[in-house]
Amino acid sequence: MTGTFNTVIQLIYLAAASCFILGLHLMNNPATARRGNQVSIAGMIAAIIATGVLVIHLGVITATGWIVLLAGIGVGGGLGLYTARTVKMTAMPQLVSVFNAVGGGAAALVAIRDYSQLGSHIGAATSVTTLLDVIIGSVTFSGSIIAAGKLQGLITSAPVTFPGARIVNLLLAATAVGVGGYVIASPSLIGLGIVIAAALIFGVSMVMPIGGADMPVVISLLNAFTGTAVAMAGFVINNTGLIIAGALVGASGGILTKLMADAMNRSIGNIMLGGFGSGDTAVAIEGPAGAGVQSIAADDAAIQLAYASKVIIVPGYGLAAAQAQHEVAALADLLESRGVDVSYAIHPVAGRMPGHMNVLLAEANVPYPLLKEMDEINPEFARTDVALVIGANDVTNPAARRPGTAISGMPILDVDAAKSIIVIKRSMGHGYAGIDNELYANPKTSMFFADAKKGLAELAASVKTLVA
């Protein structure tokens, strides 16, 4: 191919990469996030078209090649578009995880294809990256699928582990790397097969012991893996675009993983080693229990809300579990129509994925400005008549303020500063962290024991009767 032609292609890749960078940059800020995504898309289109032109220019591709390629693009594109369009907002993390899997898979396939084709004619340097690509790609592929399965509930979200699991993992890793080293020295497809198998199994056994609630972090980590795998693929087929974009994702994904873990004050380390990520094992003890806990009836709660001047709604995982987003929005509208100042307190890790509450409430068309970040709303609780806690537990638990508890150090919503507190949940059941919540024993607190969806409907009804 002519030098200049290649140069142009390279420059397009560079421009595309710059778009990706700018896109991520803009996504650091809610105000510019959407533009960021568009910039990123533009870059991607440019890069793909450039590659297409390059291939045509090379002219080596066979007719079958074209058919295969376009068929693949058609099938993949269709699947991607359909799933992405139809998935429920709250199921997005598992979908992202699936996209992760296929991304990693594709990267691995590129290397496999390259290896199988070149056979023994490849220099050691190249085939190191080839093997890295195969291993990382395969691990991401199986790991991401398991992660998606856990979030989707197809696989138990509880940590699955067995004695000696650690050793098995070590053996698998050793096999992948060891045999990998061997097949670099003396190329063999069987060897490669063993490597792939070991890597795939390792991916499974790496994610299985991790609790469903920790999956967002795991997915983000696997995302970083995929990035690295893609970068390696770039080395293999010597494509700058892949190298830059892959490394970009690898590093930013890593940082992002750390930010996520920090937000739910876990360390990446103890997440990967499993532990209390057990998620929703919180058994719902039926009926109220616990000393000094006072419960309240729908009507009384409705009166408090209707005649309050400022109400803050504190949504939690329970709201998502009950799919009660529309009910809560309806109640809020009702109160606002009575001139009550209503806003939502969004804890960074309320729910089971970052931004869980935002997606949920967005589904019910709650105006974004009503959603207040923790740092912003905490001072306002003191001026609040009623804090309405709906299926939130840990994020309101004052125990976080003193050391020695499972959630110690996690910043919480200062719900207990409000003049009075109404908590809607089904029982005295625990949250994700699996500990009691002192808030419920607070004299200012009254518990409204109900499923969030039903409970909110009742509340709305009784408020209406009040107005009438």
């Binding site: 991520l24 800020n29 809610p30 105000a31 996030a33 960021g36 990123s40 991607m44 793909i48 390059l54 090379l58 079958t64 090649g65 295969v68 390629l69 693949g72 693009i73 993949g76 991607g80 578009l81 992405a84 369009r85 997005m92 992202v96 699936v98 992760n100 991304g103 594709a106 396939l109 590129v110 199988s116 084709q117 995929t226 990035g227 893609v230 970068a231 693929a233 770039g234 080395f235 494509n239 700058t240 892949l242 830059i244 974009a245 970009l248 994702v249 590093a251 930013s252 992002l256 996520m260 937000a263 606002e336 009550v340 960074p348 931004g355 967005a362 105006p367 974004y368 970040e373 912003e376």
Partner: protein, 128 residues
């Protein structure tokens, strides 16, 4: 060639490391999804191996590579777009749009957790 590739790789790592500043937790999932779409660029790799495939095995590998990669890139961007839709702004009925945060003198770049919301808040105010 491998050397310069490596240099490019390391520099890109640095960019990725620096580009994510303090992000409001709300944006963690969209950002993850965005990064996810970006590695869909592996489609370029899939195209290349399709171009050099000449035997059944090659074709099969190429097919799956292309399908996987396209699913990643298309799906990734669409999902991200949907997530970010939740930042669409509609005038806030009751509450004031944002906290009265003093514009910091050199507030030029890099959204901070609160800074981020402040921005949106502000622009809401403008729209409302």
């Amino acid at each position: 060639m491998l050397l310069t590739d490596f240099i490019i790789f390391v520099l890109s790592l640095w960019v990725g490391f620096e580009v994510i500043s303090k992000v409001p937790a709300t944006l963690h999932t969209p950002l993850m999804s965005a990064a996810n779409s970006i590695h869909g660029i592996v489609l370029a790799g899939a195209i290349v191996i399709a171009a050099t495939a000449h035997n059944p095995v090659g074709y099969i590998l190429a097919f799956f590579a292309a399908a996987f990669a396209t699913m990643n890139v298309v799906g990734g961007y669409v999902v991200t777009g949907r997530m970010l839709k939740m930042f669409k702004r509609r005038p806030a009925p009751a509450t004031p749009a944002g906290p009265p945060i003093e514009p910091s003198p050199n507030g030029a770049r890099g959204a901070t957790a609160s800074g981020g919301t402040a921005n949106t808040g502000a622009s809401n105010g403008a729209k409302a």
